[in-house]
């Protein structure tokens, strides 16, 4: 069949073509208006911040960029991301391999793994690890010391110390692992097992197969994993603000946020100049990745349902499963239990007196109007952000899927920009562009919701694009030949078929927005409190039990919402990386 071979890559020639019908449907109008609004909300703030604001102050920019302080926080960020990212890559790769290619896989774990660490907002999870591994009062340390005392070793503090470089790197790794896992496991899943089998039949041993066939063909997935780690790692704010600050290690994203929040008036020049560094790193990483993946000599998805014979782990099966469970424990169960425990204490102490546990913190939480408003605001924002972003991305994905046009590719490219410039930078850009005149959106939920939508649009697009690419063009063509026009094709055929992936994407966006801190740290004012900001404030003021209670509440609520939605709306598709 000629056309299945040619159609995807070819463009029709325009020469001497009879006039094509130019029906301007309401669907096309709505899609393009939506696309234009989205593009405007990305281009205008970014342009205004970096060209309007920063372009005027070039000497100041140079001064900031060459200051020893910038270099120090940059160096710290590089070390943290390189070490934490490498560890995350390793853990993620092993977890992906166990869950995709060995008989130690646990079905539920494969699906829960990337989502579970997100249930506890990263800011709360980091504090959970502070509760666990502070030298004096950490629960783990307290119990370890008791254990060591049994064998005659008596310690006053430690043995663990979270407020150190290793501690910081460890928590970085915990929160970066899901991104490595998602990219690598989806690569492994789409790699046709026949490729490996063919290598084995050709006489390659398992190790040779791994290095000569599996890894070379996984290059795009591995490249994507590294890119994700760099993008997310350099933008990570919650982990270093909690652990790095106490450890006297300041990293770049924290300096950017503090330049805005701890100075009055906000030092936008410093924040924006440092953001330039962040953007440069991500863009360079992206270019390098493109070069590696450029020539498409890599395997694509093979037959559906083709499953490799799983590697038999034998007596390594139990250790492999413990490793998976250990990761889930370290990343969500342990920190959550620590938060839960502290939330019922009058004050944070490792000597748990079960008789003295009290629900007072929850009552206190309820009585604080700003906290209560923070919770309702965050849930409302999460609902709006997840819904708007999902629908927008579905519409835009369909727009560029339906007709490959130059404009479609431009829109596609622009909505990926926020992913490259990180949440913090988007936050500053929105602050610069919309907080002041003529918009004066400062302290409103409108400012937060538009920022969130722009921040999460790349992730939503990823879900929407991968969903729509699984729908063969003949699904749409059959509807067209049956007489259906744009709206009907989209609403009756395309959207329902995308639904399972979109629901999974919606859930992820809901969790991420509910615990958002990167942009909120700068944008959420007294007029629009949100949970992430409230947790950070309580952390700064040392109100630990109340903070713990708040973390427990937001974790419980978002977990319930997401599990309900996933149960109702089908299971998440594997192979979607954020």
């Amino acid at each position: 069949m000629t056309s299945t071979l040619q159609r995807p890559e070819t463009v029709p020639l325009g020469a001497a073509r009879p006039q094509r019908a130019t029906r301007f449907s309401s669907f096309t109008l709505v899609s393009w208006v939506a696309a234009a609004v989205v593009v405007a909300f990305i281009v205008y703030p970014v342009g205004r911040a970096f060209i309007g604001e920063l372009g005027m102050e070039l000497p100041a920019v140079v001064e900031v960029l060459t200051s020893s302080r910038t270099l120090e926080v940059l160096r710290n960020a590089v070390v943290a991301v390189a070490a934490g990212g490498a560890l995350a890559f390793l853990i993620g790769a092993v977890l992906a391999w166990i869950n995709v290619r060995t008989d130690a896989r646990m079905g539920w774990a494969a699906e829960a793994l990337p989502l579970m660490p997100l249930f506890v907002p990263a800011i709360a999870g980091s504090i959970g690890w502070v509760f666990l591994a502070t030298p004096e009062a950490g629960f783990l340390n307290y119990w370890l010391r008791k254990l060591l005392a049994l064998v005659g070793v008596h310690l006053q503090t430690g043995p663990l110390d979270i407020f150190t470089w290793p501690g910081l790197v460890f928590v970085y790794a915990l929160y970066l692992t899901p991104y490595a896992y998602l990219a690598i496991s989806s690569g492994l899943q789409s790699l046709d097992p026949a490729l490996e089998e063919a290598a084995q039949v050709s006489g390659c041993g398992p190790v040779q197969t791994l290095f000569r066939v599996t890894l070379p063909n996984l290059k795009p997935a591995l490249g994507a994993a590294v890119l994700q780690l760099i993008t997310i790692g350099f933008a990570l704010f919650s982990v270093p603000v909690v652990i790095g600050t106490s450890a006297q290690i300041e990293v770049l994203p924290v300096s950017i946020v503090h330049a805005v929040t701890r100075k009055y008036p906000p030092d936008l020049i410093t924040a924006l100049s440092m953001s330039l560094v962040l953007i440069t790193i991500v863009v360079v990483a992206w270019l390098v990745e493109r070069r590696i993946v450029a020539k498409g000599r890599f395997a694509r998805i093979g037959g559906r349902g083709a499953r490799a014979a799983l590697v038999t782990m034998g007596r390594w099966k139990l250790p492999a499963r413990l490793f998976v469970l250990g990761y889930l424990g370290a990343t969500s169960v342990l920190p959550f239990l620590a938060l839960l425990l502290v939330s019922f204490q009058g004050f944070w102490t490792p000597q748990v007196d079960f008789g003295a546990l009290t629900g007072d913190n929850y009552v206190d939480l309820w009585n604080r109007l700003s906290v209560r408003r923070g919770i309702t605001n965050s849930l409302l924002l999460a609902l709006m952000t997840a819904t708007i972003t999902t629908l927008l991305s579905a519409l835009l994905a369909y727009l560029s899927y339906r007709r490959r046009s130059f404009l479609g590719r431009v829109v596609d490219g622009v909505i990926k920009v926020p992913a490259a410039i990180s949440h913090i930078v988007v936050g500053i850009a929105f602050l610069v562009a919309f907080a002041g005149p003529p918009f004066r959106w400062n302290g409103t939920l409108l400012l937060l919701v538009t920022t969130y939508v722009v921040i999460f649009l790349p992730q939503a697009s990823f879900y929407a694009n991968s969903a729509i690419q699984q729908i063969g063009p003949e699904m749409r063509e059959a509807a067209e030949v049956s007489g259906a026009r744009d709206w009907r094709v989209f609403l009756r055929v395309i959207l329902p078929l995308m639904a399972p992936s979109l629901v999974a994407g919606w859930s992820l966006l809901f969790i991420l927005s509910a615990g958002e801190i990167n942009a909120s740290a700068m944008l959420a004012g007294p007029g629009s409190p949100v949970v992430g900001q409230a947790i950070l404030d309580l952390w700064t003021s040392g109100t630990f039990p109340l903070l713990a209670a708040l973390s427990v509440v937001i974790t419980a609520v978002s977990t319930t919402v997401v599990l309900t939605v996933l149960a109702l709306g089908g299971r998440p598709n594997s192979g979607n990386a954020p």
Partner: protein, 385 residues
Amino acid sequence: MTVTTHATSAQSSAEGQPRTGVDIVGLRKRFRAPDGTIVAAVDDVTLHMPKGDFCVLLGPSGCGKTTLLRCLAGLEHPDEGSITIDGQPVFGPGIRTVEPQDRPVGMVFQNYALWPNMTVADNVAFPLTTGPRKNRLPKEQIRARVDEVLKIMGLSSHGSRAIGQLSGGQQQRVALARAIVAGTDVVLFDEPLSNIDAKVREILRRELRAMQQDLGFTAVYVTHDQAEAMELADQITVMRAGKVMQTGSARDIYERPRNRYVAEFIGTANLIPVTSTGSEAHQVGTPIGPIRIADPGPDGPADTPRFVASRAHRWWIDTAERSGENVWSGEITNAVFAGSYTEYVVQLGETSVRVWADDNPELAPGRKVWVGVDPAACVVVLDHD
């Protein structure tokens, strides 16, 4: 290019309107391949598909048959030429191109393209629930029509099933039901049986042909399977590299191929080069001597190489000496048992011919034999290009 009219095509509809089928004139569709070269997927195709006929587009992968079909559906926009479906111009110079939604066609896709988010009945009802609301049938009538079509397809009890619960053959029937439910007179088929087991395929093929004759729609059917084409078609169009090589009935195509390509693509043919025009009218010179022929073949440039084409099963083979016209002696070089016949390769000087005959243990390689062919089975074909 070759326009064949059929006795069966001169029918009229019940309303007395002339039934015109599908008319394609001078159609071209080019693609730019990834390496920048330009590929003519459809290259100056002119073709008439008579109303009510089962018309098959036959050719190997890449011959442009699917692109041509998609041009009829409106899913591809041709570069030039014109298309008229049932008297309605849908594409052509000075005509506003009619979008797929508005073309009077139904279509069955290669993998059926049934929507898994809808039940069988919803899939079939879909074409009746599109278009402006005021033009739609009332709900009860839609339901009645869907029930009727499902009944024709033998799927009455399957209306509320999910698509995933059906077998391949049942899915194929649902796809056909969806294509005919709106009562369009032209139904397009894009290799609809290629994903089905060989046994089921035979059954479905017979059902499809019977259904097409009962309902009387014009079928345009794309396939690369010549057996399928032979069995289904009133009219076969053989395509190669975007061009029509020959159009005609199955018998025409098989017994009177016009060129070497068609002769080789359909069935197994012996091609013996023509070296001189014979001394008599129905005779040509070849390396193995003069051959008497039934058909002098099409006119063509004098320098185009020509061949005598004859079907392997129209030859006979004998161990006893024979004489007469179109009789040669030679030596068997190979014998392959193929079940219902055995293929003997017989060397006649520099030329070898394949003969399909009943299996005979005496006919072993090395054996001297006499072979011959009925002059009625010999036609002259042009070399392609």
